[in-house]
């Protein structure tokens, strides 16, 4: 991959939150990856591992503690408020909870048109047509334009959220668990909508989720996060066929299988213990207290993400 194709690149991003009594919560700890143009990078991990924080750092809602965010070759890590407004046209976000992400006092039309108003796109009259166009694009009706968010179902609200993100024609969208608050039957509709839109408009996604089978469906590459760090990053088929990190292996073995016979016969890899607190992480590998293969090396030195086969990155001492 040459440099030109990378749309978003983050280098050594750290995001620490200071807590009371001088404690520091390391939400994201030294993460680097890139996303190519038109690609979907899935980001998976359990609750509280820093996925959302990372997504918000990439989208410039949070300022990183350390590190670089590069968008289209420009370093945007230290943009001022004025420059930030320009960036918001290129990057948008879809939120997890469709019930809190829409302003309850605005009509659908106002919500979708807000970005166009802020960036002064289109004339007044064209905006309405554009809203109709967007409603149609995400599978809603023209008549919905004057309705309020609470009159819609969860799936419909998420469609409004998607239309809002698309209104200003961004190149890159951070999807922050856009399906986890929805019914299973609606989840696939939304994922298919996102995939269709990606094909039509050449969008690039950072798709944050914890549903592994959904992530496999939508992503080109997948990054697995554990306690603020990326432990494995590879192409999605490769990850599912050949997981190398013990954490990824255990995650994959937890995916439910629809076939009862297969399900009964498979070897499940259950993890012992709890996730350590991100406030006082012990030195060495963060996964060592739950890892079935942990050895002496693991408690001394934190493993770094290295390429073990082309395009397959793992952070584990035990993988050769």
């Amino acid at each position: 991959m040459n440099n030109f194709e990378k749309l978003v690149e983050i280098n050594n991003i750290k995001k620490y939150f200071s807590m009371s009594r001088g404690r520091i919560l390391k939400a994201v700890d030294d993460v680097s990856f890139y996303i190519n143009k038109g690609e979907t990078l899935g980001l998976v991990g359990e609750s509280g591992c820093g996925k959302t924080t990372l997504g918000r750092v990439v989208n410039r809602i949070y300022q990183q503690t350390e590190g670089q965010v590069i968008f289209e070759g420009k370093d945007i890590s230290h943009y001022s408020k004025k420059d930030y407004k320009g960036i918001t046209r290129e990057m948008q976000m879809i939120f997890q909870d469709p019930y809190t992400s829409l302003d309850a006092r605005m009509t659908t039309g106002e919500i979708i048109a807000e970005g166009m108003v802020i960036h002064n796109l289109y004339k007044q009259k064209d905006r309405t047509n554009r809203v109709f166009e967007l409603l149609n694009l995400v599978g809603l009706n023209k008549e919905h334009i004057n309705r309020f968010p609470h009159e819609f179902s969860g799936g419909q609200r998420q469609r409004i959220g998607i239309a809002r993100a698309l209104a200003i024609e961004p190149k890159f969208i951070v999807c922050d668990e856009p399906i986890s608050a929805l019914d299973v039957s609606v989840q696939s509709q939304i994922v298919n909508l996102l995939m269709r839109l990606q094909r039509e408009f050449g969008l690039t996604y950072l798709f944050i989720a914890h549903d592994l089978s959904m992530v496999k469906h939508i992503s080109d590459r997948v990054a697995v996060m554990y306690l603020g760090s990326v432990v494995e990053l590879t192409e999605s088929n490769d990850l599912y066929k050949n997981p190398l990190h013990p954490y990824t292996q255990s995650l994959l073995s937890a995916i439910p299988i629809a076939d009862p016979i297969l399900s009964a016969n498979r070897q499940r890899m259950l993890l012992q213990g709890e996730v350590p607190s991100p406030i006082n992480t012990p030195p060495g590998c963060k996964f060592k207290n739950r890892c079935p293969h942990a050895s002496g090396d693991c408690s001394e030195e934190a493993p770094i993400l290295r390429e073990v086969s082309p395009g397959h990155f793992v952070a584990c001492h035990l993988v050769n």
């Binding site: 407004k85 046209r89 829409l102 309850a104 009509t107 807000e114 802020i118 919905h144 004057n146 959220g161």
Partner: protein, 315 residues
């Protein structure tokens, strides 16, 4: 099997050619039955269904109209002493009777209503404005500014109200204007706390993040997102503040710190009537009736408004 079924159901073999596709609606995805209704229109529709709130609203409107036209309905002035006709009971000439000094009570009640309602409304509006401004700044910008503002609020709310009133009246004298200033200075504290709490709660919500991620400026975030989302709480508190201000003014009049005679207010009328309560009870009962019904009306209306403005209660 199929023979048995067709026997049981009395079906005969239907030749395949008689089946045909009648057509299907592929593109009619959803029919919208209900016309789209605006937020305020919908709130009004719900308010109208609430009988108690509507009774309250009617009382408020009637009293307001009477405060405007009431004093002109009688030929007697609120300030003229008819010394031959003191303490007359309500009759055809003096509809509410006259007081100790022979002044017509009908005229005095409605002139008093002007003062009481004016103080109530203006004091509540000024308090609300200051409360939103100061509480909003503290909540939105947060950090040290928030800390300083809220400590000032804590200190001010520790000082008893009456000391405030006496101090302010010592400096700028008593009367209508000083009363409103006193209410404005003391009343915004609670409103500021309320607004700050609301802002803190709302600013962490995803729709605020979404607007920020869209590049919205601070003024847009405050005017378009924060204030409309707080409007329900603010309006309800406002309607609760009006009776509070009327009541406080009545109390101040009672201890002689209110408006100066011959100007009057409901509180002052009740005060004057209280002194002759045992001989001329109507002089207390009439202003007391108007004060209490107005309080009740505002409380009922405020309650109904809160329910009407909450979109979650929509049916």
């Amino acid at each position: 099997m199929s023979d048995i079924m067709s026997d049981v159901l009395g079906l005969v073999d239907i030749p395949l050619e008689e089946f045909g596709v009648l057509g299907k609606d592929e593109y009619v995805s959803e029919v919208v039955n209900r016309p789209s209704v605006g937020y305020w229109k919908d709130a009004w529709r719900r308010l109208r269904k609430n009988k108690l709130a509507m009774i309250g609203l009617c009382i408020i409107i009637i009293y307001t109209i009477m405060a405007i036209i009431g004093p002109w309905m009688t030929s007697f002035s609120y300030r003229t002493n008819y010394l031959m006709e003191t303490n007359i009971r309500p009759n055809a000439q003096h509809w509410f009777g006259t007081d100790v000094l022979g002044r017509d009570l009908w005229a005095r009640v409605w002139v008093g209503a002007r003062i009481s309602l004016f103080i109530g409304l203006v004091a509540a509006l000024v308090q609300t404005f200051l409360g939103i401004l100061i509480g909003g700044v503290a909540g939105y910008f947060g950090g040290n500014l928030d800390l300083v503002i809220m400590r000032i609020v804590d200190i001010l709310s520790g000082i008893p109200f009456l000391i405030f009133v006496i101090l302010i009246m010592m400096v700028i004298g008593s009367g209508l204007f000083p009363i409103i200033i006193t209410f404005a200075i003391t009343g915004w504290l609670g409103m500021a706390r309320l607004v700050r709490g609301q802002v803190l709660q709302l600013k962490e919500q995803d729709f605020m993040t979404a607007a920020k991620a869209m590049g919205a400026s601070s003024s847009r975030l405050i005017l378009k997102h924060l204030i409309p989302n707080m409007s329900g709480v603010i309006i309800v508190t406002l309607t609760m503040r009006i009776p509070q201000a009327i009541f406080t003014e009545a109390f101040l009049s009672y201890i002689g710190l209110g408006v100066k005679p011959p100007m009057t207010s409901w509180g002052q009328l009740a005060n004057a009537g209280g002194q002759v309560m045992q001989v001329h009870p109507y002089q207390l009962l009439i202003p007391a009736f108007f004060i209490s019904t107005m309080m009740l009306a505002l409380q009922l209306f405020g309650d109904g408004l809160r329910d009407a403005l909450d979109p979650k209660l929509r049916k």
